[in-house]
Point group: C2
Chain length 412, copies 2
Amino acid sequence: MPRDFSLKKSPLAPANEPKLLPVKGINLYTFSAGLYSSKRDDIAIFIFPKNSSVAEVFTRSSIRSCTLDWNEKILKNKKIHALFVNSGNANTFTGNHGKQSVRSITDQIKKTYAINDDNIFVASTGVIGEKFPISKVLKSISRPQISKKWIYSAKAIMTTDTFPKGISYTSIIEGKKVTITGISKGSGMIEPNMATMLGFIFIDADFGSDILKKLLNENVSHSFNSISVDGDESTNDTVILASSRAIKFKKPFKSISDKRIDDFKKKLRKVFMTLSELIVRDGEGATKLIEINILRAKNEKDARTFAKSIANSSLVKTAIHGSDPNWGRIIMALGKTYININSKKLKIYFGKYLVTKNGLANPSVSDNNLSSYLKNKNIKITIDLGVGSKSSRVITCDLTKKYIDINASYKT
Amino acid sequence: MPRDFSLKKSPLAPANEPKLLPVKGINLYTFSAGLYSSKRDDIAIFIFPKNSSVAEVFTRSSIRSCTLDWNEKILKNKKIHALFVNSGNANTFTGNHGKQSVRSITDQIKKTYAINDDNIFVASTGVIGEKFPISKVLKSISRPQISKKWIYSAKAIMTTDTFPKGISYTSIIEGKKVTITGISKGSGMIEPNMATMLGFIFIDADFGSDILKKLLNENVSHSFNSISVDGDESTNDTVILASSRAIKFKKPFKSISDKRIDDFKKKLRKVFMTLSELIVRDGEGATKLIEINILRAKNEKDARTFAKSIANSSLVKTAIHGSDPNWGRIIMALGKTYININSKKLKIYFGKYLVTKNGLANPSVSDNNLSSYLKNKNIKITIDLGVGSKSSRVITCDLTKKYIDINASYKT
């Protein structure tokens, strides 16, 4: 059983807990199944109306949780009737017992909530390779009690997270108010292409699954797939966008270019960006949020490779942690991609400070100025390659002793 | 000017300093040019007889030291007359002044040591992007004094290294004794494909440059390119194999399959393996040496990708640091390669302990046993994929708070 850390809240956490709006048509239930050594909620179940729509993206890892095999199968129906999420155990590398546990969970949910189809999504997060605690889970979820506050769901899915992550927006479509509420979790094993992160975004606007899939794809690459804590990627990562379809419109939506949802799309984008940034703000041991911008690259792939190489470099992350203006490590991180670089065109900025130009250190900026800048909690590093027009942005955090502390003793 | 760390010797360092044998025909000079804040040697110059042979491999980084551009040019002559190495400054991202510095160094060496060709190799290691301290260097090397002990050269090239790295062997070829002496440096920015590592291996056996190139290629991939400290790769990495050709043979060597050098090749292999392992033993903050063996992979590329993914995972390295038997992180590191894996055939061993089989935790091995094993200084992790016949071996170290300490304040 993983111990509960009761870790001190990240210094990068927002000052207040988010106010989460309920989403019309969706009921939330939260449970304490005793999956942690201390008393806390560890399961959340969302019940949707029949025919609710859904889109999902998940980890590319070649060893993944059996929950994802299950989800992939039912995703073909393009419908969601319930979503079950537990923390404390990842249900990965758990063999037949793990698979049977998924089946038992969905059977129990069908029984308790009078559901007669299989459109029940399952997401698990926690330790890999430990037997799934199915008896505790089944015992717990057989006595449902509706949860009054959506923030409880954000709390139930936390593992080493130090604060609950969520955000709500409303938008007007055809004069009707629609709601977007998202929750996420994650703080370690975080790298682009989904890490130990879960993101669930709920809406009530009547969009079919095809529209949801397009909205999800449009947003996920710039949000959940553009963050990194430690470059490690998990077996369980999942982002789901689901709609109760409770708010109906005169004319159904066939394209995400439909002008009627311009404002909605802006709000949805904010939800994706916030949920993913909150994960980095809770990066294990993080004390600084680092934004890396690559500008004027030859193509998007190069831009992304450069951004990720910097974001995942232990030497860059420790230097920034120590407010050490050792920009040579950025040079190193760019160079180790093996992608051709014109040193004379390359410009590196720390915030507003131009650090290099013409293939040399900029003599008019002092180490003292740079070091003062690096003492901020929010650091912006900009790399202008000067060879094209493509850009990329990745959010990461510093690497600290606290990260070592947390990760040298997670399981035991 | 980088501060001298006078860091405490790594707990993984060998008990005693190596006894290095001089190599016939090669003279060594060491200097203290004041490139560090405390008094120490920081330059080594090796003078070879005319027509000595050489082979070199260097970093694949797309931003590299101007010293490598110089070396690449003169490497075409396949001859070495001198080798200059300095610590304290990497001469990278130093523009025209950096290039001119290389020229000034080689000119000075030609003058002082009466050399009338350009076959002078230059290697620099230290901080990136700081102006090269050419005046100090020139002043220092203009007063040569022969160095009595080869261990001084291993000390002069240290940066954040906590102990000098070297090894010597002798072998008999055609009844004549030949000597192999190698030195290396490096402790951070270390990843396969050359990192901030320098390796210089000197011999006196009369081999031409083509033979040296083959011997170098044969050895470098299993040694210097199979180690990792932090997954970062430097702009200056260089491994050189050079011969004074002082020991002559009846019949020149045309192939490295020549039986006469069977024993020599074994010794040379040991030199490469030892020099590279010593770098990991001096990994910044390291307390444990971790050997990762991938067995029965489908092909060599897969085997290597799996080994590197485990070796570079911060989560695996911190778990081993904490003697935490959290093998789920190995599963994660294997999975994030996106290479197909048959979980049921996969076997993970910690030392002699079989941790997983048939896609499940092995119930007959206890976390206590595994945790005790992980308290050792030398950890062996074996992954048997059970799908082919190819293998790979990578040496790495754990990730500790000391690493953060060292790297949060290297430059300032």
